[in-house]
Amino acid sequence: MKNNYPKEALKIKLDDKSKSLRKLCVETLESGKRAHLGSAMSILEILSVAYYDFLNISPNNFNDINRDRFILSKGHGCLALYVILADLGFFNKSYLKKFCHPDSILGGHPEYKKINGVEASTGALGHGLPIGIGMAISSKINKIDNNILVLLGDGEQNEGSIWESALSASKHQLDNLIVLIDYNKIQSYGFVKDVLNLEPLSSKWESFGFNVHEVNGHDKKQIKDALNSTKNLNQKPNAIICHTIKGKGFKFAENNPNWHHKSNLSEEEINLLYEAIR
């Protein structure tokens, strides 16, 4: 790795908003006693910038065909999505207290139509990008000037359908497509470099015909600048590689593969999480 983004991502201090969203995540997790916490913490700042500063999506325009789209292709990171959608009023925050309960709208992966604000059900990996490309093509046919954002996990890029999609996005010159890559470098079994190395990741996406940006995925300004720089570039689709930290914000979970997914969380573990964000 030649850049300093991973080090900077580890070092950067979280602002109050990031901390309060993390607290909401822990409250949600507490109600379900399980979650892909590490996977949600690496994307919280990316989603924050997307939803609060960039996307033209709100509870009021959610059925408007002109709206922007966001697809969480790595559906297991849904804790981050849920707290932001609740915070923005897509559904009542009280639903967060029923995460994974039998009658809940919020499961371990986001479901279309159950949750206002979710564009497509995801969970099985490698599905969000093809769907997002269909939406991007739709906008081109309808001559709608909007942004289609798809957030991929790094392990998700093991799927062949991602690279089928990348070929097509380039062929159709989908400059309205922004692929956000959560490069936290840890997948379920362990480190990405050991399971199925993605490097050189940046030049891979470049060679598939994308404009590629790299950012510290917990630095909101960098993320925002990268998103804003994708407009009207050169008829190419865009990829933003966000160097992130799995478990960011919880020291003991940071870069720790054991925090990819946790179930049957004890009261003690939950208290540790609360203490960590105080």
């Binding site: 497509a120 769907i131 359908s161 097509s168």
Partner: protein
């Protein structure tokens, strides 16, 4: 039948600007008229079937009506998860047009032979399955498919099949067509096996044996009203399909009757392909016969079952 199918899609696309055609890597010149007239609604995406299913879902979310066409096994086998997650979980109106249903691709071997497509598609909630018996029926199906609000799998048989359907017959997805009634015995068939069933009942009629024939072009959703009537009133029921005996059309009839009319379900006998990968090449007809669905054998079995042997 394939030509009729594609030209019908083109015809409907002229009337409805939401219709989109997506092929994988079809033969040169396929639907050139469509491509020339509506270039922004014609896509040839290469050998990337999994991607194509997701892409079609994205288009359907925005109100488009995608028709996807490629070889049946490349859709139903390779893309099973994409069909389940992207199309059926979202219940989107995407049409999958599968070339080579059954043993059409006999000379190309078992990678291309769609003998499990109905089994795969019928196990997915929200999926509908239609296997027309000829080109006329295919045209009627495509017209009706435009407003069908669910995922739909269309099984195409080979080109140049003879025409047996009555063009004045009303066609509705989910509604069977009765060719001949009989209270003694009836064949329920789907796809081009209805052509074979027609030959069989005519040949048996010449021997003085009265057998009815009902064509169920729609495997899912089944025409329950018609099956309810048949299971109660007909003494012997035979199903006929160009598909594995496991989990196909006959199984769906058997399951439905066993759940709802248990006292009658032993009336049903299924003609289908044995449950092993096809082990010969040749052509569709020779392979069908080799796998046990030759007319003489079927006739003899029917005669034996109804006691006319």
């Amino acid at each position: 039948m394939r030509k009729a199918c594609l030209s019908s899609i083109y015809k409907q696309a002229k009337k409805n600007n939401k219709i989109i055609f997506i092929g994988s890597d079809l033969g040169p010149g396929v639907l050139d008229d469509f491509k020339n007239e509506f270039p922004n609604r014609f896509f040839m995406e290469g050998v990337s079937e999994q991607f194509i299913i997701g892409m079609s879902a994205g288009l359907a979310f925005d109100g488009f009506l995608p028709y996807i066409n490629t070889i049946s096994t490349f859709l139903t086998r390779r893309c099973l998860e994409q069909i389940i997650v992207d199309l059926c979980m979202h219940n989107l109106p995407v049409k999958l047009i599968g070339n080579g249903g059954g043993l059409v691709y006999a000379p190309l071997g078992p990678t291309h032979q769609a003998v499990d497509d109905i089994a795969l598609m019928r196990s997915i909630p929200n999926m509908s399955i239609v296997a027309p018996c000829d080109a006329h029926e295919m045209e009627a199906l495509i017209e009706k498919s435009v407003n069908w609000p669910h995922p739909l799998y269309v099984r195409i048989a080979k080109g140049g099949d003879k025409i047996i359907s009555d063009k004045f017959q009303t066609f509705d997805i989910g509604k069977s067509i009765t060719y001949k009634e009989s209270s003694n015995a009836v064949i329920l068939s789907t796809g081009i096996m209805t052509q074979k069933a027609l030959e069989i009942i005519n040949e048996l009629s010449n021997e003085g044996i009265d057998i009815g024939l009902i064509h169920l072009h729609t495997v899912t959703p089944l025409d329950h009203k018609k099956i309810d009537e048949v299971i109660k009133n007909v003494e012997h029921i035979f199903t006929l399909e160009e598909h594995f005996i496991v989990n196909g059309f006959g199984t769906s009839i058997l399951e439905y009757c066993n759940n709802n009319f248990q006292e009658y379900s032993n009336k049903i006998y299924r003609f289908a392909l044995p449950f092993h990968f096809p082990d010969q090449y040749g052509n569709q007809e020779t392979l069908i016969n080799h796998m046990g669905l030759d007319n003489e054998k079927i006739k003899n079995d029917i005669k034996q079952k109804i006691g006319n042997a």
